[in-house]
Symmetry: C3
Subunit: 109 residues, 3 copies
Amino acid sequence: MKLLIAVVQDKDSNRLIQALGDSHFKTTKLASTGGFLKEGNTTLMIGCEDHEVDKALDLIRDNCSQREQMVAPISPMGGNADSYIPKPVKVEVGGATVFVLPIESFFQF
Amino acid sequence: MKLLIAVVQDKDSNRLIQALGDSHFKTTKLASTGGFLKEGNTTLMIGCEDHEVDKALDLIRDNCSQREQMVAPISPMGGNADSYIPKPVKVEVGGATVFVLPIESFFQF
Amino acid sequence: MKLLIAVVQDKDSNRLIQALGDSHFKTTKLASTGGFLKEGNTTLMIGCEDHEVDKALDLIRDNCSQREQMVAPISPMGGNADSYIPKPVKVEVGGATVFVLPIESFFQF
Ligand code: NI
Ligand code: NI
Ligand code: NI
């Protein structure tokens, strides 16, 4: 058994939890308070057998990888709207940090 | 030293924390947000010496094991109250998942 | 790689997170709900390379050690204010508990 601790973006967490559940992984979601370093992050604890670690990592990679997203900027208020052509901008979203921890023993009561 | 990470039901957590404290275990309670997989769960971190792991596991088992509980169902609103005899139903409550993690070192400042 | 789990007082946590960030440690702040055992505590997860564990421990010690603080007591309401000389009292503040956990593997996506 291993314990995976995954820190992912809030916006990706529900999709990941759904995917993990579909594959019968047991997931516990901890409240991250953000803080200024990790604003908007969620911490998941995933217990899994050794031979399922790669599957779990695949699901995290598939659902949470850092990627670029085009975002339409807000039109400036009071600007010269006629001549203003808003250009979508690229932003980085997503990203996951995963720690795989050895478990000495595991119990369910 | 070991670190026990225990995921238990909210309704069992105060009784368990009390029992752990009475036995001088140091317990930190993390906020679990529930999520749809683990609605109403609490995560506890319990640091303990190797020879006390069994004692801690006993306390978790005693206070949090999955068990059946009889629950009186709510009378249906607007039903024929005279002829309605509510039957208590069995529901599963409690349950605990515990990971025992090895600790490389431990510090108190 | 190691995973440090540090439980510190809320009042020390922002200063510590700032110090860890200045030294390029990656820190995730978990919400502790307090509970009656650990009222006002914050749990931090800090991932770091083996050779940086001592540095991280130094930062935790420097920013969170248990220490005495002089606190001016509140004047008693309706007391004889003229003859009352409030004496500052010593209280214990701070303190940190740190678990250093081995990591089997570590991923960033
Ligand atoms: Ni299997
Ligand atoms: Ni002992
Ligand atoms: Ni280095």
